[in-house]
Amino acid sequence: MSEKSREEYWRRNVKLVVQCLIVWFVVSFGFGIILVHPLNAISLGGYKLGFWFAQQGSIYIFVALIFFYSSRMGKLDKEFGVEED
């Protein structure tokens, strides 16, 4: 693997991590804590939306995020020919 493609691979990995962590931050710290009061004005069944994000929604999104990251990294590994056999 050339120095250049190694750097490019790492740059793309870091970019993906940053994108995922933005979502991670927004759903928990954003929707579940900072914006909890305005969001609580909206209801999701018997849940107030902000409360739902804090006690349920953020956890589901965390799970989805890890699998999303994992599958996108799998594709990136293939693209750069660094997947394990």
Partner: protein
């Protein structure tokens, strides 16, 4: 069959299963002992991580904590799950690529310094030992409450079981038993939850029941009803925020970073075959953890609802709105015997009044003379759940087995982390570098045996601060271990001096901040300021300080590194190498 006999049978059967698994998975070399020879399937590793992570506190304590904190309990739900995103994206895959045995070994090699490695060992051992005390007390508590076995004997039995499978099987034995323990604990947790949700809301899925309507035909949402009941009795509304937003933010962040930095969790990701397995395995771990963590808030709210409605079954202030003490259900009496529930008839009317004296101003006009539920221990929210829901005895027996499984699996993971740091980092890595693999394996068995004895001793003589130590464990992991590893992967510039300075600043500032408010080394009366919000620096709770400690660690490490020489060429190559799944050149 009596409940006691049944409980003995169920708990005994799970123990027999753990020992059977242990006999089948003897460790043959250090690779087996430390990392199960990297042969654990990612889904099974996720399950084992779930059991490793979910402790006695998660199983017994968390739903009760949420029941009384309401919305504020979200810090634990988000904090103890969000850390897995950090683990999956920032640490686990690269540490798996590094492919060695312990967390401190990575710190030692990346920062080309035995000092850094030993500072890592100190952080790791301190965090793990404080955490293991809670597991030991958890085992003692479950034994004494469900089986009438004394607290001390309960701990001896627990120590023996862990000894058998951890000493012989090492990581291999621990992994296999953790998979079994996950199944036991999740079954024991969800069955009562499903029944309670069915009774209260008519839906078998607790996560939907929490957002559903009451099954009483009123059409009111459960959470709205709970808010109303609590507010009418002077308590804060369940869904309202009580802590300051700043502390909610900082505590959640501390728990997340701390989770990602706990060595016994990180270590689990050394056991999978490939880098890509480490990524997906973190996802599987969180799936298995989320089953319990999304059920817990439902259990908490529903248990609180059951408790409130049992005591206040009619209108607040009406003569017969409160239950007569003579007519309380049998679970109430049986938990009263344990001292976890305590009733005092302050106004002598033979009925129970349970309310918040500060919030309910006109209580006196009802003839109430103070809150009469003088003790409501939050742990009973899970332990008494099956009885409150009127479930058969085998479910109660299962709850005991589940609580013990949660405590044993976490204790084993922690003990293994401590033992491998001692035998691999301190002995093989520093004091006796020339010992053979078989000798090291022998030492690691002695180390884990020793760790079990120390943990048992601490469980039998728990320091008075057992509750606070959990905060300490997360604070330490967040402020020392997590930043050191993350910088080791994401920066090529951070050097030995920077990392050591960072770890010491993070660890030191967090310890000092905790000690100032909770007493030096937690000795009562030695705290320098009262532990109240108006004394806290910028209003930050000592529990939440790990976030600040981590920030100070990053700043110190970058500052010192930039003032001193950059790491040698070889180390920069090492960093480049761990960033790519296969050999990079």
């Amino acid at each position: 069959m009596s409940l006691k006999v049944l409980t003995f049978l169920v708990v005994g059967a799970t123990f027999a299963l753990y020992i059977y698994i242990a006999i089948r998975s003897k460790a043959k070399n250090t690779g087996d002992f430390y990392i199960a020879s990297k042969g654990v399937h990612p889904v099974l590793n996720g399950m084992a991580t779930g059991a490793d992570w979910m402790s006695a506190a998660s199983f017994i304590g968390m739903a009760g904590l949420i029941a009384f904190l309401g919305y504020d309990g979200s810090v634990y739900l988000m904090g103890w799950t969000g850390g897995y995103c950090l683990l999956a994206m920032l640490l686990a895959p690269y540490l798996r690529k590094f492919g060695k045995f312990t967390v401190s070994e990575f710190i030692g090699e990346r920062y080309y310094s035995n000092t850094a490695r030993m500072v890592g060992v100190i952080c790791l051992v301190t965090a793990s030992v404080t955490y293991v005390i809670g597991q030991m007390t958890g085992i003692g508590v479950v034994f004494s409450r469900f089986l009438d076995v004394s607290y001390a004997n309960g701990i001896y039995i627990g120590m023996t079981i862990v000894f058998i499978y951890a000493v012989f099987g090492g990581m291999k034995g621990v992994t296999n038993t953790q998979v079994a323990q996950y199944c036991v604990l999740i079954f024991a947790y969800t069955v009562p939850a499903i029944f309670i949700s069915l009774t209260l809301t008519g839906t078998p899925i607790p996560q939907l029941g929490l957002g559903g309507t009451m099954a009483d035909g009123s059409g009111t949402f459960l959470l709205d009803k709970l808010d109303t009941i609590l507010v009418n009795l002077g308590f804060a509304a369940y869904t309202a925020q009580k802590m300051s937003t700043l502390n909610v933010l900082f505590l959640t962040m501390s728990l997340m970073i701390g989770t990602a930095g706990l060595p016994h969790v990180i270590m689990r990701f050394f056991t999978v075959p490939k880098v890509k397995d480490a990524r997906s395995s973190a996802g599987w771990a969180l799936v298995f953890i989320a089953v319990l963590y999304t059920t817990a808030p439902a259990v908490g709210a529903m248990a609180r609802m059951n408790l409130m409605q049992t005591i206040q079954h009619g209108e607040v202030g009406s003569i017969d709105g409160n239950i007569e003490y003579a007519k309380v259900p049998s679970w109430f009496k049986s938990w009263e015997k344990t001292g976890l529930l305590k009733f005092e008839d302050k106004n002598g009317d033979g009925r129970i009044q349970y309310y918040d004296e500060k919030g309910l101003k006109n209580a006196e006009s009802y003839g109430w003379k103070g809150n009469e539920m003088v003790t409501v221990n939050r742990d009973i929210m899970v332990l008494a759940n099956p009885e409150i829901a009127g479930l058969p005895n085998w479910v109660i027996a299962l709850t005991a087995a589940g609580g013990i499984a949660a405590a044993l699996s976490t204790a084993a993971g922690l003990l293994l982390a401590i033992a491998s740091a001692i035998s691999h980092d301190v002995l093989k890595g520093w004091l006796m570098p020339n010992i053979s693999d078989q000798q090291e394996l022998k030492y690691s068995r002695v180390a884990i045996g020793g760790a079990i004895i120390v943990a048992g001793y601490l469980g039998l003589n728990p320091p008075g601060f057992a509750a606070q130590t959990v905060a300490l464990a997360f604070g330490l992991a967040a402020s020392s271990i997590f930043p050191a590893i993350m910088m080791g992967i994401f920066s090529k510039r951070v050097n030995d001096k920077g990392a050591i300075a960072g770890m010491l600043v993070g660890l030191g500032s967090t310890l000092i901040y905790i000690f100032i408010y909770l007493g030096w080394f937690f000795i009562k009366g030695t705290n320098m300021l009262p532990n109240t919000p108006d004394n806290w620096l910028f209003g930050i709770n000592p529990q939440s300080f790990g976030t600040i400690g981590a920030i100070l660690n990053f700043i110190a490490a970058y500052a010192v590194s930039n003032l001193t020489a950059e790491p040698p060429e070889k180390i920069q190559k090492l960093v480049e190498d761990i960033r790519v799944p296969i050999k990079a050149d």
